[in-house]
């Protein structure tokens, strides 16, 4: 029986559950002996010119080795997102101007971290405040510019906001709504940390990150050295969620400081720093317009996006493009139009966060479907069924180059509805409304399709059997909680028969593994996993070639006897068996291979959420959520469901609780875990997962990605459910997060409007 598809416990866990993970701040590596500790002085003001910085008092403080400012720093400011307005470059330490609360202004280096906090308080920065640009409308009108030399606050834009005359002309019903996909904080439990040494002309950089090789390349470019002169090592990483991709400015600074000061440097940010210093996600202001006929046919859909790039355009400036590409969702809509503008504001830069561009697309189309259903008086499930892309329409082209690979959208929705008992839920909802219960029931649906491995479908992998029978697997992907060490070992074991416990998976060290694209965009299994599968298969072929002479048999007649991890002759029980280990003892037995699917895959699914809303207080609670998440065959249900659980929770969290807000001066209002609404176990239910598997044709095992699907599916289902609970009171939309005060206010306004 194949190990693939079975529930294998993680090989990672014993270490995590005894001595704990070894994260960057835990390192005792000898290369970091005698390290200085970096404390960053960060701007407390959103927008200001810096008139002076006095570091003299700080330099006298106990334990201080150096205090540096932009005047001391020869690093070239960087255009973090290379397609943004070329003038919108970011310095590593603020030069003449600060553009967001949390922007690094000075670097304090001390022998002990406690001394750093003391000394940082003594750095005297004179700020001359400028008006802060917080609102995107203010950014667009450009009265105050973050980069006067750019002449605009627009970082990047695409498409006309006008879909053209006649776009909605033949529609019986057209509904339009402005909705907010609010700014949220990725908030991995491990904040960012980096440690660097410079020795003999070469940087060694340890950091908390999702991609060693890409970060090495960034570091080399930004430090102005050859790629060969940078060695990046990723220890255990305490969560990333898209926000730890590439070399953050602080990481570059840590490496630069190590060289400049001639001593290793360590940095581990506080949570308060992390909440303003790490990129935020989402932050799209959307206008959705949907048109169609009263029979439920949707004919035209327009999505207009104003995206917040934050103070310095990073990857977040690019994400509305992906949102536009995925705007139609699971629906076969005759006319679809999208456009976007990304603007800079005096806020934390935005970047990828679980889903990164796709949740924003799904939220918009799924809200639009509900609004359209309401407008024509049809059940939201029926409207969706009426418009789904049908199975026979695949591959379904969404751009000139990209097509949805496989999908069964109606089947997924029907499975979710049947699992939830949709008809009974609607009946219970009606009963409560009739009785005038204050505890209202809301039922929300979502149907989603998303793109995984969209940033590139190639990855490398190596498998080597050693003479002692152990195996080393090298991978260019870069886990931070997903369980690759277990999954990749399963893939190797499947073909070699060598026991799981003898297989070691290595990743995240650029000297051992020079190439790799890391873990992001739900790409790993279908790229890095398939590369390992392919490498193991090629290793079997290599072993057969070598064994053929020894066994005096044709290669074509040889098979793997997985019970003993050996090559033998098919159908001849008495035949000699030569183990992989024996072959390795004769000559190195190693395969390094590249896998390139050449295309992305498109997981899909449907979620049904049930919420209860206290009509008197506006407080909503998610009671149940049923999730159908189809990402093709499942390698390990333990890991697969774990990804769904975490994803679903983050989607619920965005719908119900989380939001980064700023006051009009650009001061963040939720800059700690005391204020920012990450849910605990007490705010969430257990989740009902429903299985469905539709393989892709993009790779031999049919795998798609599952890392982000849960978030993409759950968030709109929950938002739709809360709005559904109060829909009969006249409410047709409430922006996320659906906090008590917001829901209560919406009910009051609807009641006021009805009078």
């Amino acid at each position: 029986m194949s190990i693939l598809g079975t529930r294998v416990h993680r090989v990672e866990d014993p270490a995590f559950l005894t001595k704990g993970g070894t994260y960057t701040d835990d390192l005792t590596d000898e290369r970091l002996a005698g390290a200085l500790h970096l404390t960053l002085v960060r701007s407390p003001i959103a927008h200001a010119t810096i008139t002076s910085i006095d570091t003299s008092a700080a330099k006298q403080a106990p334990g201080v080795v150096a205090v540096l400012t932009a005047a001391d720093c020869d690093l070239e400011p960087v255009l973090v997102f290379d397609r943004a307005n070329k003038k919108m470059v970011r310095p590593y330490l603020a030069t003449d101007r600060v553009r967001f609360v949390g922007e690094p202004v000075a670097a304090v280096l001390t022998e002990h971290p406690y001394q750093g906090e003391d000394a940082a308080e003594l750095v005297d920065v004179d700020y001359d405040p400028l008006p802060a640009v917080v609102d995107v409308e203010a950014a667009l009108n450009g009265e105050v510019l973050l980069f006067p030399e750019a002449g605009t606050n627009v970082a990047t834009a695409k498409g006309s906001a006008d879909p053209g005359a006649g776009f909605f002309a033949d529609c019986e019903v057209v509904v339009t709504k402005q909705i907010l996909n609010q700014r949220v904080a990725p908030a991995p439990l491990e904040t960012r940390a980096a440690a660097a040494a410079w020795d003999d002309g070469r940087y060694t950089v340890f950091c908390s990150n999702q991609n060693a090789q890409g970060t090495r390349d960034d570091l080399a470019e930004r430090l102005g050295v050859d790629v060969a002169d940078v060695h990046v090592i990723l220890p255990d990483v305490g969560g990333g969620f898209g926000a730890k991709i590439g070399a953050d400015p602080e990481y570059v600074l840590v490496a630069w400081l190590a060289r400049r000061l001639g001593r290793p440097v360590r940095w581990s940010e506080s949570r308060s720093e992390n909440m303003t210093g790490l990129v935020h996600g989402r932050a799209q202001h959307q206008t959705i317009t949907i048109g169609g006929d009263r029979d439920g046919t949707v004919k035209a859909y327009q999505l207009k996006i104003v995206g917040e790039a934050g103070a310095y355009p990073a990857f977040g400036a690019a994400l509305p493009n992906l949102t536009g590409m995925m705007a139609r969702g699971t629906y076969d809509i005759a006319r679809k139009h999208s456009s976007y503008v990304s603007v800079v504001t005096n806020t934390t830069p935005t970047g990828a966060y679980r889903g990164a561009g796709r949740p924003e697309a799904t939220q918009a189309i799924e809200r639009a479907m509900d609004l359209f259903a309401r407008a024509i008086g049809m059940d939201p499930a029926d409207v969706r069924r009426k418009n789904f892309i049908a199975p026979e329409q695949f591959p379904y082209e969404i751009t000139d180059e990209i097509s949805y690979d496989t999908g069964e959208y109606a089947k997924a929705l029907d499975l979710a509805l049947r699992s939830a008992g949709y008809e009974q839920l609607r009946a219970e909802q009606a009963r409560r409304r009739e009785r005038g219960d204050t505890k209202l029931l809301g039922i929300g649906l979502s149907s989603y399709v998303e793109i995984t491995a969209g940033g590139g479908a190639s990855e490398n992998g190596s498998v080597e059997v050693h003479p002692d029978g152990t195996v080393t697997v090298l991978t260019g992907s870069s886990p931070h909680g997903q369980g690759h060490a277990t999954a990749w070992a399963m893939l190797a074991h499947e073909q070699l028969g060598i026991p799981m416990e003898k297989i070691t998976v290595r990743h995240g060290d650029t000297d051992q593994i020079p190439e790799g694209a890391g873990t992001m965009g739900s790409r790993s299994l279908q790229t890095g996993g398939i590369a390992v599968h392919k490498a193991a298969g090629e290793l079997v072929e290599l072993a057969k070639q070598r064994a053929a002479d020894l066994l005096e048999a044709d290669v074509a007649d040889l098979v793997v006897d997985k019970d003993v991890a050996a090559i033998t002759v098919a159908g001849v029980p008495s035949a000699r068996k030569i183990t992989f280990a024996e072959l390795a003892a004769q000559e190195q037995l190693r395969v390094h291979t590249e896998w390139d699917a050449g295309k992305a895959t498109f997981p899909f699914g449907a979620h049904v959420a049930v919420v209860e809303v206290d009509a008197e207080t506006g407080k909503a609670a998610v009671q149940r959520i049923w999730a159908v998440d189809d990402a093709g065959p499942v390698l390990n249900p333990l890991l697969f469901d774990g990804q769904r659980h975490g994803g679903i929770a983050q989607g619920i969290a965005q719908a119900m609780l989380e939001e980064v807000t700023y006051d009009e001066d650009g001061q963040p209002l939720a800059a700690s875990f005391a204020d920012y609404g990450i849910p605990s176990a007490a705010e969430l239910p257990s989740f009902d997962l429903v299985g469905m598997e539709t393989p892709t044709d993009a790779n031999p095992l049919g795998y798609k990605g599952i890392g982000e699907a849960g978030t993409i599916g759950s968030c709109p289902a929950v938002q739709n459910a809360v709005i559904d609970a109060v829909a009969h009171l006249g409410v047709d939309h409430i922006d996320m997060p659906l906090t008590p005060v917001r829901v209560w206010t919406a009910i009051q306004q609807a009641a006021g409007g009805a009078k």
Binding site: F16, T18, G20, Y23, R271, L639, D641, G642, F673, A681
Partner: protein
Amino acid sequence: MKVEINVNGTATTADVEPRTLLVHYLRDNLGLKATNIGCDTTSCGACTVLLDGESVKSCTVLAAQADGLSVTTMEGLSDDGTLSHPVTAAFRQEHGLQCGFCTPGMVMAAVSLIEENPDLTEADVRSGLEGNLCRCTGYHNIVRAVLVAAGKDPDA
């Protein structure tokens, strides 16, 4: 000032600044790195350890306050580096961890919770873990793991 703290059954002592947080004493003075720091506001619980057998957030306890008392960290749950403790065993069995960062604190919070009330329901576990944040698991499998460790059927 000098503090003497029994940590995982071993007497430890060090001369520390009075402001030294217990979590830093454990990590930096003793090199016990399982206990993590996830926030500044006593919110996330990643630094949870047992102080005289009860869960506390070691970022909000001075080493000085623990002087003369006993501390248990996750490292102290196993003598031999195996998952011999029912809570750590259940966390693996039920896949109650992913990135592992919240795990030591979550495990210690669970140990304390079960110690105080072994007769736990799912609702008890959820409210009992309200002081510990996890960003990876959605808590689904953590809740199951704690129920299993308490001898309950998580599917009941």
